[in-house]
């Protein structure tokens, strides 16, 4: 442990040449797409304005690439000042090992429990009554994005839900347009989950994921949805897949594809392309079937530092991230919803307003998947879904059976 602290001190002094008022904080995150980078810039601007310095440590490639790097850094005794990390079970181990900065005092002083909503977000940052991370936005993954122009050009009415899209699909294909663009990897899993929750309803979905209700997971209703998915997969053949989610969104923006199923962060890409919601494109929460949204979101953790100046800067940053102005500026760019209800969102676009409406209705709101089940099981589910959607030979019943067995094996 001695070498550990020594290394930490050493690293801290190396990383921080000037011990004074201004403290450099390195921030790791995997936000490198256009909309994301623009949003991060708002954070950086606000933090720099406090007299400290945001040192950007972006690592593209999402969690799989970034997570081992983040964990290594923390483990190695030279942690970053702050880091994006999925809330929930991901960080539990790190907290249990005492490697994360406790934010409880700050949270109490600023009354986070009351100004941040929904409560579930702050809860996922709370372990044994202590707050360890700061939620910065609310994301929901259940959106279908359509390019209006594609449909109007073909003399068609833009679809209001996924069923209408499927109905229109043959005509789109005929016109040489991809009905549904799709990116490889987790976007496939996201889409399958979206279809599941839209068709089966929030209650059943949460029962399966959170309460591990095998009867529902293996039941006829889910069975039917798997059949629907098997039908959809003809429109997402492997040779139409693109590597990144934002490329898939890009196809919709360019009018090469009619629709894409993606989280609200896709809105940031439309914004960068200067498209207007409700006019150039439609965003349909709950895939237009039932207006449901989950409340995932991004959070920042602050690895513990031996340097009090760093700790101070960390607390400053945590506080900055949830101030009103920063929340508005950031979320408008990111396409996500702010954590605070008490902010002025007149500048928000149609999509965000739709989201806020649902959020206030709250019955249609459900927790993010990682808050209900562990990442390992999620990965397995994702494997299953990507394989199911890519393999036309895999019967829907098989996929459902495997889904049930993963749910069954997941640790409670």
């Amino acid at each position: 442990m001695k070498a550990f602290t020594m290394a930490a001190v050493l690293a801290a002094t190396v990383a921080l040449p000037s011990v004074g008022m201004a403290t450099d904080l390195e921030v790791t995150h995997w936000w490198t797409s256009g909309g994301e980078a623009a949003a991060v810039a708002e954070f950086a601007k606000a933090f720099d304005a406090t007299g400290n310095k945001w040192v950007d440590g972006a690592i593209a490639g999402s969690g799989d690439v970034a997570r081992p790097i983040i964990i290594s850094r923390i483990l190695g005794g030279n942690p970053m000042g702050a880091t994006q990390l999925n809330p929930g079970k991901d960080a539990d181990d790190l907290i249990a090992a005492g490697l994360m900065q406790d934010l409880t005092e700050l949270a109490a002083a600023e009354d986070w429990a009351n100004i941040l909503r929904p409560a579930s977000q702050l809860e996922s940052c709370t372990v044994d009554g202590k707050v360890y991370c700061v939620p910065v936005n609310l994301h929901s993954a259940q959106w279908m994005w359509t390019n209006r122009k594609v449909f109007t050009d073909l003399g068609m009415e833009p679809p209001k839900n996924i069923d209408e899209l499927i109905a229109a699909a043959p005509k789109l294909v005929e016109a040489g347009i991809q009905p549904l663009s799709m990116a490889q990897g987790w976007p496939v899993g996201l889409m399958v989950n979206d279809v599941l929750v839209a068709q089966a309803g929030v209650e059943n979905f949460v029962k399966v994921y959170k309460d591990r209700d095998l009867a529902i997971a293996g039941g006829p209703e889910f069975g039917k949805i798997f059949e629907t998915l098997a039908n959809i997969r003809q429109y997402t053949p492997a040779d139409k897949m693109v590597p990144q989610w934002n490329e898939a969104v890009g196809l919709v923006i360019q009018g090469k594809a009619a629709a894409n199923i993606m989280g609200d962060w896709a809105g940031g890409e439309f914004a960068v392309a200067n498209m207007v919601a409700g006019q150039d494109y439609d965003c349909l929460p709950g895939l237009g079937v039932t207006p449901v949204l989950n409340t995932g979101g991004d959070v920042f953790y602050f690895p513990k530092s031996a340097d009090p100046a760093v700790t101070e800067a960390q607390l400053k940053m945590a506080s900055t991230l949830v101030t009103k102005e920063v929340q508005v500026a950031f979320n408008l760019k990111k396409g996500s919803l702010p954590m605070r209800a008490d902010v002025d969102l007149s500048a928000a676009n149609d999509c965000m307003k739709k989201g806020l409406e649902i959020l206030d209705g709250s019955t249609a709101v459900f927790p993010n998947d990682i808050q209900m089940i562990d990442r390992d099981s999620l990965n397995q589910i994702n494997d299953l879904f990507t394989e199911f959607m890519a393999n036309p030979d895999m019967p829907a019943a098989d996929a459902q059976a495997k889904f049930v067995s993963i749910i069954e094996a997941a640790p409670k």
Binding site: A3, F4, M6, A7, L10, A11, V14, A15, E26, H29, W31, T32, S33, G34, A37, V40, A41, A44, W54, V55, D56, G57, A58, I59, A60, G61, V65, P68, I69, I71, S72, R73, L75, G76, G77, N78, M80, Q244, N246, E247, G250, I253, Q254, E269, V272, A273
Partner: protein, 299 residues
Amino acid sequence: MANKSSAIVPSGAKPKPFVTPQRFLVYTVLTVCAVFFLFPLYIMIITSLKSIQEIQSGNIFIPTMTPTLDAWEKAWNSACTGLYCEGVKVGFWNSIKITVPSTIVSIIVASLTGYSMANWPFKFSEVFFTILLLSSFIPYVVMIYPLVIITRELGIYSTLPAVVLVHTIFGLPLLTLLFRNYFASLPAELFKAARVDGAGYWQIFFQVFAPMSVPIFTVAVILQVTGIWNDFLFGVIYAGPTNYPMTVQLNNIVNSAQGGKAYNVDMAATILTGLVPLAIYFFSGKYFVRGIAAGAVKG
């Protein structure tokens, strides 16, 4: 050694004075293969010279009529890698800072190890060598956390020495094999003569063997520079944020699209990042073959 390098001239069948069907076949096969090997480079270069509109509308195989170096400029100077939009150039010196000492240290360690294995074997040296060879089959990724702990305990985590150490470790199996084979192929009598002359371990290495080993050192340098320069993971984990190599920027550019994928910038960034190892291959390919001829052939 004169007779060694003279063995580098072609030893195949004598050339015929006229174009025979056989030679025609040889050149045809070589050319077809050359086309296959050049194809991706061609694509990379012409794509990097196109504008984004041209890429989206056009055929990837057809070169542009209006080449532009904009993408190159952007990739080097202003492509966004997260918050910063300074292109790949920011990591260039870091890559040098990592590559140079890593190459030197790993080659010193491996050459001495190979020399010991070949000329001064000791008890269990064969066992160590076997484990070393097996280690070249270990998936690197499982070694990440143990190495984090090791470098942390050494007090060097997140510094240049840590990444130098890691590259030395993962370069060791292959380089040791090459050096061992090379030194084993040198005449045993030379080693004996030096010992009779009173030269010890270090004197033989530095004064007798090292001057004869330029070819194999060339190979080792080429292999290590290429591997280390292209590395992303170790650099990002062990070198510390102040030393992030160029590949970190490349990864951020290539693995994320900012408002539609800028393939031309991707390609330019790719070529720019690969320029150092590419240059080394272009200029020293001859010594590479020569060096391997000296090192890997016998043993």
